[in-house]
Each structure stands twice: as structure tokens, then as C-alpha cells.
Subunit: 214 residues, 2 copies
């Protein structure tokens, strides 16, 4: 089945680009129906325009609260035919307004092996801790910060000479590959999400044929 | 330089065995000077006896407090000529009594990619969280639980059918390889530990030629 994607971003949109490239070369069975940025200057908006994808700058400062903003977002995504939402560097915490409209269908990519180093600047956190191994995580979004059920992870060795910039750049390559691989496996119908085993638990993820690898 | 090791354990001592095997086959330039268990029935004691290594059951219940126990431990390790201490499944938190006697020379192996899943039964914690990638960590011991500076890490993919037992078994193979590789690189003089960059920070680890890999 073709995934009908909405991509939310706040910055350069390199993950959007990797999705578009993968679609163009036939590696990903998906359509990007709408790109939304909460920042006008996001380079991701320009990437969408160049690819002929509908794009939208939706300024959260124009709304009285988070819920009002997300109701508008949900309306726009729905009208565009979006079925799965990808947070690709979207620097806003999302709430049940969006999550309820796309239950277990909001995906995030995070530059660490969660649950290690959630939150901002995971690469700098990892370097400050002094880990020898880090990686990236694709997960379903819930109301916690970088907390939802894990869909896929890829590891990466930290090199002694790594800076925040070099580590981020190498991680980004892994992120692109892992995100595309995960979306393609979703498109192939390999993902099953089941209700939590116990109250307060998280939904359980299972993959036909094992989890995506990058 | 030949590492003069003391190995502390509480159980089967599979990491001790991998150290002994690596020494026997010439892959690790070390001598195990003393094996100490805080449990009489630890299989690790038997492994030491079979290898002709001095071994000692030191019952922590025979001491009024942790410090008194560790003073005895330090005395025994020192008398045996131990210079580096390896915690190989030693189920006791160590204190400054031991750490002060072997500054930055107490090494632990933990079955997760720290800082994720410190503490007991890291493998079960990882499975319960639902990670797709885990691993093991060799680190210098400080007074925190599984908290000291990281020396080396190796990652391992979790398989869909993994149980606590299968995951633990595959991790154990990685642990053995990573611990031996790390000790050998220490023996080769490749490790430098520098004071913390700022107050409250941890000592900094650097490896000539990059961190050990397994």
C-alpha cells in the first residue's frame, strides 16, 4: 500500500529530502501529501516547493494555545489526504490533539539510542556523557518526550575525534536510511501495533520478518 | 606490561573464564592474581581452583559494615599483588574504600549500552522497554550505580523472538569479547584517564588509536 505522508518540520528538512529521494528512486512506496513547517524560514519548505509538494507555513504563534494550533494542523493534514505523519525535525511537542487524529501513526526520528539521551541535542548529550556507541531511533510518538514505542534503531560508534558536528553528520546518514527503511516496511504492511500488555504500559510493536535495519 | 588482575564475582564467573582463556591462548597479557567471591557457592571459585588461581570466599555478612568488608578485600587484593580489579558479576556496590585503593583501576562490565538500563537485570529492562538495539559497556567504577566513565561499548540487535535468556546469552558473548579486548588495550598502555573537565564531572577517558572494539 502507498503511504500517504504528512511531514512536519522546523528546519532544513534533510529527512524530508531523504524521503523524497527514496520515493523518486522507487525505494519507498509513499507520497508526501503535505509538508508543514512552524517556522517560515525552514529550508524544508523550499525543498517541498522544489519537489512540487504542497507546503504550508503554519505559525504556532498565531494560535491561542497548543490545542488550537494542532486542531488546525490536523484539519490541514486530513484535507490533504495524509494518513501517516512524520516528525522530521519538528521542534514542537505534540499533544493528544494530533495523536488522537492519527492514532499510532505519528512517527519521529531521534538521534540517540533511546531511552538514552531524550530531548534536545542528543548528540551533545552523548558526547558529554562519553559514550563509545550511540545511534538513532525511529519511534511512534506519544505524549512523553521521545518516549513512544520503538520501531527501529541503528547503532553508530563514536570516534575519539568526534565533535558535535561530525557525530551529527554521521548520525544523520543513519537516520535517513533508518527512517526510509522503516517507512517502507510500514508500507509493505509488516508493522503491527497492539494495545499495551498492562495499564500504563506502551503499545507493543511487532514486525513481520523482524524489525527494519539500516 | 602485564596486567595484575584481581577478579571479584558472585556467580558463575563466565567473564573470569573468558579472561583465563584469553590469557591461556596469548590474547591477553595479564595474570589473575586472586579471585574473590562474596558467595561460597559461586561457580567462579571452582573455575579459579581448576586454573590454579588463588581464590577466596569472603563473606560480607561476617563484617559489621561495607567499609570493614572492603578494607579486608583491599588488604587481600594488595597482598596478592593485584593492580587492576575487575568486577565480573560481583553483586555488591563498591565504595570509596576499594575505589580509593585502586583509583581509576576498578573495571566493571554491564549488559546494556549505558546510560540506558543501569542496575539489576538490564536485559529484562531492555526487553520490557522494547528496544531494537542494546549492547554492553565496560566502564571504570565510581560510587554511582553503573555510572563511571565508559571505556568501551559494543552493540547488539534485539531479535523479535528474544527472551531474557536468549538475549543474555548473546550479550554474554559480546561482554566476554569486549572485556578481554579492553583489558588487553589497557595492558598495551593505550588508556589515559584524565581528571574531570569541571567540578562534579567524571574523569575523562582517551584511547591511543581509538577505543577497543569487540
Amino acid at each position: 500500500m502507498t503511504l500517504e505522508l504528512g511531514v512536519l518540520l522546523s528546519g532544513r528538512g534533510s529527512n524530508l529530502q531523504s524521503i523524497l529521494d527514496a520515493i523518486a528512486c522507487g525505494a519507498l512506496d509513499a507520497r508526501v501529501r503535505l509538508v508543514v513547517s512552524n517556522r517560515a524560514e525552514a529550508q524544508g519548505l523550499e525543498r517541498a516547493r522544489k519537489a512540487g509538494i504542497p507546503s504550508l507555513f503554519l505559525d504556532h504563534r498565531g494560535y491561542p494555545d497548543r490545542s488550537a494550533y494542532e486542531r488546525e494542523l490536523v484539519q490541514r493534514l486530513g484535507a490533504a489526504g495524509v494518513e501517516w505523519v512524520v516528525l522530521a525535525g519538528f521542534m514542537r511537542i505534540v499533544t493528544r490533539e494530533l495523536l488522537g487524529a492519527f492514532p499510532e501513526r505519528v512517527v519521529n526520528i531521534h538521534p540517540s539510542l533511546l531511552p538514552a539521551f531524550p530531548g534536545l541535542d542528543a548528540q551533545a548529550q552523548a558526547l558529554a556523557y562519553g559514550v563509545a556507541m550511540t545511534g538513532c531511533t525511529v519511534h511512534l510518538v506519544d505524549e512523553g518526550v521521545d518516549h513512544g514505542p520503538i520501531l527501529a534503531q541503528a547503532s553508530l560508534a563514536v570516534e575519539p575525534e568526534d565533535t558535535r558536528e561530525t557525530l551529527s553528520a554521521r548520525l544523520l546518514d543513519r537516520e535517513h536510511a533508518l527512517l526510509v527503511a522503516t517507512l517502507q516496511r510500514i508500507a509493505e504492511g509488516d508493522l503491527t501495533v497492539s494495545p499495551p500488555a498492562d495499564a500504563g504500559g506502551r503499545p507493543r510493536v511487532s514486525w513481520r520478518g523482524g524489525p527494519p535495519r539500516a
